[in-house]
Amino acid sequence: MSAQDASRVPMVQLLSPEGQYSVPAEYAEYGKYIDQLGEADFLKFYRDMARIRRFDNEATALQRQGQLGLWIPAIGQEAAQIGSGHGVGHNDHIFPSYREHGVALTHGIDLMSILKMLRGVNHGGWNPDETRFHLYGIVLGTQVLHATGYAMGVKFDGKVGSGNHDEDLAVISYFGDGATAEGDISESFLFAATTQAPIVFFCQNNQWAISSPVNSQTTVPLYQRGSGFGVPGIRIDGNDILASYAVTKKHMDDARNGAGPYMIEALTYRIGAHTSSDDPSKYRDQAEVDYWAARDPLIRFEKFLRRQGIGDDFFAECEAAGEALSAEIREKTFALGEPPIENMFKHVYSETHPLIEEQLAWLEAYEASFGEGGAH
């Protein structure tokens, strides 16, 4: 553990690792958001975390079996993602990085869209306007500038702090500790601060950027990264779903009401590999992984729910739902076909372009020259 992760760095935690809920006096403003939740909300939170964990494990298996080209596990980050995802309002827009499967789940993205992308069928394919969940950004930090520009547009539209609950909106952008080293993140802070755009920067500090530990990306706690630009921030326990939900909800509400940009650093841990191509045993100790595995966000929330009187039946139901999900996505993955060759040429431009038309025509004629079945 690096010095910056020592307990002296203030951090919002509402749920102890033993599942004990308590609101420190200095975080009372966040506790109010939890007061408004009922049992159904808590059960939904757990169901979503269990569902995305199951999805993650199944996707790993599919990759190992050659059904996916790559898998990007998010195991260990479920509380950060499901909690914050549920804290995003009904008009708000989300700009994810490439590991936000849990956030996608909370915004109705068909999980098969994610598998389709990682199988190599397309680059995403969901409608970013309709879902308000934009496409995955793979080049680190790029999507955060898009989010900032979007938020600037929202402000130009007068949809910030107008008091019209049906129309006002804010933007949230996800990125990791590694991405904070990119200049695009710093430029995002600056553009957002100078325009007072309605955006929350949500950094999941999972402590590893492939093989580089977070202390190679920063020498100060990341939640302070925006302060020099005029973007205040706070650190939360990213494995505490209630802190993740409440802090995100409050600062999205504030941004929507005209408070300007804000940064949340969710301290969590990447239990799995960076991707299925990575081998973390080459660069980190198992003892560290074990330490964080013991702080698993699902185990913590299960302890909380059991303290609330939720019994075995509920957890058995989640397990059964997971079995069904696994079977469903396996079947659907096997059924994913090959994309037609014209997809490569579609939408490169939205207006006609002679080179594209010429090359598509050539390729179709070339393919046809092999006769039925296109034998090569």
Binding site: G124, G149, S188, K346, S350
Partner: protein, 327 residues
Amino acid sequence: MANVVEMSIAKAINAGIRKAMADNPKVLVFGEDVAQLGGVFRVTEGILDEFGPNRIFNSPIAESGIIGTAIGLAMRGYSPVAEIQFDGFIFPAFNQITSQLAKMQNRSEGYTTMPVVIRVPFGGGIGAVEHHSESPEAYFAHTPGLRVISPSNPNDAYWMIQQAIKSSDPVLFFEPKRRYWQKGPVNLDEAPDGMHTAHVLRQGSQVTIAAYGPMVSVALQAAEIAASEGTSLEVIDIRSMSPIDFATILESVKKTGRLVVAHEASTFVSISSEIAARVAELAFYHLEAPVIRVGGFDVPYPPAKLEEKFLPDADRILEAVDRVLAY
């Protein structure tokens, strides 16, 4: 009577932007120093007074941020017109342009359009310090998903900027900065054909000279000199470097049998390389000579005292004409 007025290229771009802003309230202009100052070349002068700070504003000095936020604004339904202050300052934005802006429509399978215009004063000949005289257009023409154009005269400047802003695809709009104050007639009523057609500016019979941007007037000057010496040159303004209107070039080459392509950019892997390859492929039997490229040398743009030797002039074009006529 058509409404024809005389104006400079800079003023024509300004007038074209104002027309686009008046026609479409979603058009936003931003970049470094574009608002009160009107840009370092004053191309956006007076727009702030006419349209106010919600339509034109200064950005922080961060080119990646300018293009990255332009992408976000386009996602929100705006039509951003972003200025990159000088050609040599576009590279901090290269990633956002080539890996994001160019690919966003394809990535989203058409759900998202990218009606973004990037205005770039480009080229040399103004006695500037390093990074203020470059011709980076080939990098962008090489990138699928972008459109790349350059006007050479005030009428094209007025209309092509409007056509670029109306396009739902991203457009790199290269402005020939050493010609900003060149004046000419602008027909305010009648648009020329689209922004991607090449125009034959001077009919000729012996050699075709194809050029774009600041080199067009050099090519016309060369044709004038050649005519006085009894050689007939046809001059084509390419206007669009992606896509390239090969039909117009090929038609001319089939007539003259000889082609010289001229630009300020270094010739290695350049717009002229692509034209030479295409013409060789599609008009092989019509060629009387190899295609000759006339451009900058393959060296970094030199200090101002040497730029006269770097930039092609009419004599360098005529030297190439002599070479193709020698076959």
